[in-house]
Amino acid sequence: MLNKNLKELSGMLAGREISSVELTQEFLGRIEALNPEINAFITVDKDISLKQAQEADRRIAQGNAGPMTGIPVAQKDIFCAKGWRTTCGSKMLSNFVSPYDAHVIERFDQAGAVNIGKTNMDEFAMGSSNETSFFGAVKNPWDRRAVPGGSSGGSAAAIAARMAPVATGTDTGGSIRQPAALCGISGIKPTYGVVSRYGMIAFASSLDQGGPMGKSAQDLSIMLNVMAGFDSRDSTSLDRPVEDYSRSLDESVAGLRIGIPKQYFGEGLDPEVEKVVQDAISQYEKLGAKIVEVSLPNTRLSIPAYYVIAPAEASSNLSRYDGVRYGFRAQEYADLVDMYEKSRAQGFGAEVKRRIMVGTYVLSHGYYDAYYIQAQKIRRLIARDFTESFAKCDVIMGPTSPSTAFDLGEKGDDPVQMYLSDIYTIAVNLAGLPGMSIPAGFASNGRPVGLQIVGNYFSEAKMLNVAHQYQKNTDWHLRMPSI
């Protein structure tokens, strides 16, 4: 049951082998047993989940079910869900009960899915290890000394530990792909603008994008069919024809041109990770794909450019937390400014405060051109590199992360070391391209390794096809940690 894919679960629900209530209870039981140690969920509300499951069972009985009706979905705690505490991993929002639903939540409700709980995350999605959460670190189900990655680490760990069949995530600089890689699951960040950001708590608005996380590419395609689509309430939501992201899963990859950027295989890459990724690429060659060398010469610059642009946007977005309209307010203060300053000093964690300060500085008078504008120019150079590469190939492949999951506490005190671990994922966000990670094997320490697949704009169906063909010929995505 726990290792079944969405199609199988949906078939069992349709065939009355199991009810949604039973399925939901099964996963709630798993959460109850494992969450005290893994800490993948911040909020679980059995009553709401079971009510949704009963509703789904009614729908199934009426013959009104869709592919996700009755399926439990873990929701990253960055998505506002009406009546649910929605914290974004922060003390600032630790008592915030959302009065409305995010577009993504609405879509899952309409599809008849069951919200199984809100998953842990780095505070305001700022982190690559899940250690910045106000609600404590998440442990990697494959090795509890290790981080699950971040910021969607709770979602990734929940799937890896089979506490939920699928989950949502968001990806600003790698926050879906890197935890997917470190927890041995699959995840896709769609092209910027494909999934509405309405009700998704903002970090860096020109980079943030929601997407699905699950065991397999096939499951992701079913999820994305629910999540994607135009929404007038997000000014950057793209009004495009509705796609079926499952439509080409079964196409052959013979003749597929895979671009391999040499910059993704250089200094800083763990040799064991490199070996696993090269083996995965060899597997594609066996399936008839062709290897093409491409160049992404500005990869290294994506880190400084990102760590200017993302904090700049964050400093503006997070100015809304003022202790007046909602969220945390300090107990004692002398006047209005003192109330703002103390509420923010006590309500935000150290990493969030650092990023707000970096952003404030790079946007301040006298530094705007040297930092913010220069970073935006480099962003253009990075996007151009990808455009030139996609003239020669259909997808780009490489490692998702330079190493396997690192130990809890290993990089916690050194933000620069933490930022460098985002080297292979950040450029994709700056360019606005879709990117995904799928499990490709393990290192000798027993920790999973992810293969990153980057596609051209709006090529999600193609990428899912490419990933699915690999998963038809390998079983890495079906491996479970022994817990």
Partner: protein, 95 residues
């Protein structure tokens, strides 16, 4: 570029984040490391490159100038720290 303790205090004040001397010292060392990383950008010649502010080159949509929101202030204000008569309360600003 090297930051001073006063720079950190000024940035914190612009960010509306209270900071004491001991904390400012710690933040100074972290921010200096981050700016060391960011400085790598300065060596890049970007003359003639148009800044890219957004992933998709689309213009903002316009909508009809009509009211679309209903009044839900009571619901929205339930989560506010201090409310009276439908108004958010803050410390006195004008004496």
């Amino acid at each position: 570029m090297s930051l001073s303790l006063n720079d950190v205090k000024r940035i914190a004040s612009l960010s509306r984040i209270a900071i004491d001397d001991a904390e400012a010292q710690v933040v100074l060392s972290k921010l200096s490391g981050i700016f060391g990383l960011i400085e790598e950008m300065q060596a890049v010649d970007t003359a003639g490159i148009e800044p890219m502010s957004h992933a998709q080159e689309v213009s903002l949509r316009l909508r009809d100038d009509v009211v679309t929101e209903e009044d839900r202030h009571e619901e929205f204000q339930k989560g506010a720290p201090q409310v009276e008569a439908g108004l958010y309360l803050v410390p006195k600003v004008i004496e």
